[in-house]
């Protein structure tokens, strides 16, 4: 079953998990590492040199924290309900997203549309380029060697590991992002959703469905 969750069939205890269900990562209360020392020193020097301020660093973190897949989901739901918007999104996803008030920055965003016979999935084999303005920070697996190495070679097998088993008749297109050009998948609107509002539709759009490693939820 395609879904965004991180609990892919492996039973585990939620003990020691954060409220979002992830293990806590060593932070303020564990032994200081060399790289943490470097971060602190670098940040202090940048502030002293007038390159940035502590307020600016915090504001940037706040921006990052405020971005979530809900942004992308709103764009997808609009495309499902407004054919003119869908057309504009496919022509220029940066401008179409800006139309909805999302800050896309200078990057070129390309929406790739899933159809009855074609499924799209995105990767960055070079590093970790991701439509972070619409989806937030990428999941850990997106940045992993395994995903980046194998998706371009054996996409069907990799998608299978996400629980997405597509028929052999479906063409899979893998899109390799770059720093300046990023992709977002426009998934197909699920059947049986004719009566839903744009807001209700947005709730069906999962993060993974916009990466291409999943499909939207179906209405209950």
């Amino acid at each position: 079953m395609p879904h965004d969750h991180h609990d892919h069939g492996t039973p585990h205890s939620h003990e020691g998990m954060s409220p979002s269900g992830h293990p806590y990562r060593a932070d303020n209360d564990t032994a200081l590492t060399y790289w943490q020392v470097m971060e602190i020193a670098m940040r202090e020097l940048l502030i002293e040199k007038g390159v940035t301020t502590s307020a600016e660093v915090q504001a940037q973190i706040d921006v990052m924290d405020s971005r979530s897949p809900a942004n992308g989901a709103a764009v997808i739901a609009r495309a499902w309900t407004d054919p003119d918007f869908r057309q504009r999104l496919l022509e220029n996803a940066s401008d179409a997203s800006r139309e909805m008030g999302f800050d896309i920055g200078p990057l070129q965003l390309i929406a790739v549309e899933n159809t009855a016979d074609t499924h799209n999935v995105i990767v960055c084999t070079l590093c970790s380029c991701y439509p972070r303005n619409l989806l937030g920070l990428p999941p850990d697996w997106y940045k992993s060697r395994a995903y980046r190495s194998r998706l371009v070679k054996t996409p069907r097998a990799v998608l299978g590991e996400f629980g997405l088993n597509l028929p052999d008749s479906t063409t899979i297109r893998v899109h390799d992002s770059t720093a300046d050009m990023r992709y977002i998948v426009l998934p197909a609107r699920p059947a049986g959703t004719d009566d839903l509002t744009e807001e209700q539709l947005a709730r069906l759009v999962t993060r993974d469905s916009m990466i291409g490693t999943g499909l939207p939820r179906t209405p209950e």
Binding site: H6, S20, H22, P23, Y24, R25, A26, D27, N28, D29, T30, A31, L32, T33, W35, Q36, V37, M38, E39, I40, A41, M42, R43, E44, L45, L46, I47, K49, V51, T52, T53, S54, E56, V57, Q58, Q60, I61, M64, D65, V123, T125, C127, L137, P139, D140, W141, R145, A146, R148, S149, R150, L151, V152, K153, V158, E161, F162, D176, A179, D180
Partner: protein
């Protein structure tokens, strides 16, 4: 690394620590102000070689790369960095203690 062999995709996820978010923020701020480019970030990451992917975490590789780019751009010197890292390391045994006394604490 596209096309190479590798094991199954690990789908587990961790919450980002404050220091990791700060590295990300500093990358965005410094590159948007023209101190280096994303290509510069990636060049250093690729120069680290394959071992770095096994021995360092994602944001450890990033902080190393951002730092290298800032040194190359002359934003601060290796001596300034070395002195500051020594001072920071002496402040305490944890990230919280070491980050204290800064403008952010």
């Amino acid at each position: 690394m596209g096309g190479r062999d590798a094991g199954p995709v690990d789908l587990s996820q961790h919450d980002f620590a404050l220091w990791e978010k700060r590295v990300d923020a500093l990358m965005v701020i410094c590159s948007s102000k023209g101190h280096f480019t994303v290509d510069g970030l990636r060049r250093v990451l690729e120069d680290m070689g394959e071992d770095a992917f096994e021995t360092m975490t994602y944001y450890e590789r990033w902080v190393a790369s951002v730092n290298q780019n800032l040194l190359e751009a002359g934003v601060y010197s290796i001596e300034e960095l070395g002195r500051r890292m020594e001072q920071v390391a002496r402040r305490g045994a944890t990230y919280g203690e070491a980050a204290e006394g800064t403008a952010d604490a």
